[in-house]
Amino acid sequence: MYEEKTKQKSLGIFALFGLLPLLAFVIVVMIPFISGLLLSLTNWKGVLDGIQFIGLGNYAAAIKDPGFWASMQLTVVYVLFVTILTNVLAFLLASLVTSGFKGQNLCRTGYFTPNLIGGVILGFIWQFIFTRVFVFIGQTLDIGLLAKNWLTVPQTALWTLILVSVWQNAGYMMLVYVAGLMGIDKSLLEASQIDGASSWQRLLRVKLPLMVPAFTITLFLTLRRAFMVYDVNLSLTKGGPYNSTQLIAMHVYNDAFVNQNLGPGQAKAFLLFAIVAAVAMLQVYILKNKEVDSL
């Protein structure tokens, strides 16, 4: 650690190395965050004239709004399925591309491709596939399930969103699992094999426990991404049909910017933040306790 002899010298170093990034952080993140917190406690309607402190009124209004709960409920279902399916698929893909066959690097490259492209564009691509391609296949081959446009039916529309999100995220989480699998000490696997463990036992008793750090990361990332999803939601279903796919991020956006409910909108945004932070920290806490040392 470096020490400075004078306060002045310390300040100089701080200004040289830290002033601009800190300023950007404070202006771009901290000020909106704190003003958001303050504004959520007032009857703010976009102008500061006649602004009044109303305590937790906006939060009460947000909690009483049935639209908020409907959207939250959808989001929980969506998050649950996306998190489970993404990680199951990602783990499967990771096991495949580390099993040592010719072309496994090509597969890694291919599986990761959806992650290069923004959610808005992916949503449009799948919109075309659901409305044109699947319907065409369904009608030509007379498959009832495909003949109907899934995006126009409330029961299937949420599933299109889940499907596209799993497809989009699996490749990224796969790479985290690949990194985890490659980090496992080979001698441990060999030792367990000599001791007569079947490949299934090796997966359950050796690989999975050693992969807990990777699960901590992938679960954190999938939970976070799923709770925050907006781009794909917007371009694939726009929240429809009949609000059957309006996830929480879109609900907050619409409430604030379309319906101009700025105060309750901001309160909802903070509730979302609180829920995400709680879920993410709980998950990290639980998995951290399950981590084992490989020695």
């Binding site: 470096y2 701080f14 190395f17 950007a24 591309v97 491709t113 290069l116 497809w167 903070f270």
Partner: protein
Amino acid sequence: MSGRKRTVNIASLLKLSLALFFLVMMIFPFGLVLINAFKSRMEIIQSPLALPGSWSFDNFITAWKTMSYHVVLGNTLYITALSQIVLIVFSAMFAYLLVRWNWKINKFIFFMLVCAMIIPFQSLMIPFVSIFGKLGMMNSRTAMVFFYLGFGMPMTTFMYHGFMKGISKEMEEAAMIDGCSYFSCFWRMVFPNLKSITVTILIINILWIWNDFLLPSLVLIKENTRTIPLSTFYFFGEYTAEFGLAMAALIMSVLPVIVIYLFLQKHIIAGVMDGAIK
């Protein structure tokens, strides 16, 4: 012996076909968009699966003109490139400050940065639009660079911080005895050692900023300031019924990233994996 060999072969055949199946699942949407980008509206309605009758670039030319693709591409390049430079330069320097000086305030700042990483953009956006709208920072591409510095700095600094802790400072101290200042010491001795983490950070940040939608949709309202995701969004909304045109626009919007990926795939995959375990 031969029985065992056969089960091994069947198992590896199964594995290979499974891998191939998933490869097709991951790639076919892009292939479908590509073949339909060359077709007319009628051809697509007749069959979205058939190859185009003729490989005409008309859809691409029309889509390019309508969305002023060169302007949009320029905006995206400008914002992404400048944001990368400021994020790398300032976050690396900031991480150096946080790692090498043992001040109490540094610990507090580091804690704040970690906390800030879990704040979703949705909880900032309402006051954000109000504040920066009043300050007249809307429709400014340069303001976007500043915003990305603010939003990206916590994560970038965090990654540099973790990496820099592992670098010994003996070399630096030797150079300092010879009269090297902290600043030049950082750029000459420390920064060159950060190459691998810098590549990882660049990949993650480029993918984020190039594809970002919500923030630019709130800031870049004027048509001539839009980025690729924004412009694709408006274009697609307007020409949903013109499938061919819409597909051409989608291809043009993904092409820059896909081309770069084809050349740098090994580095990108390795970079993301490095970032994953850190």
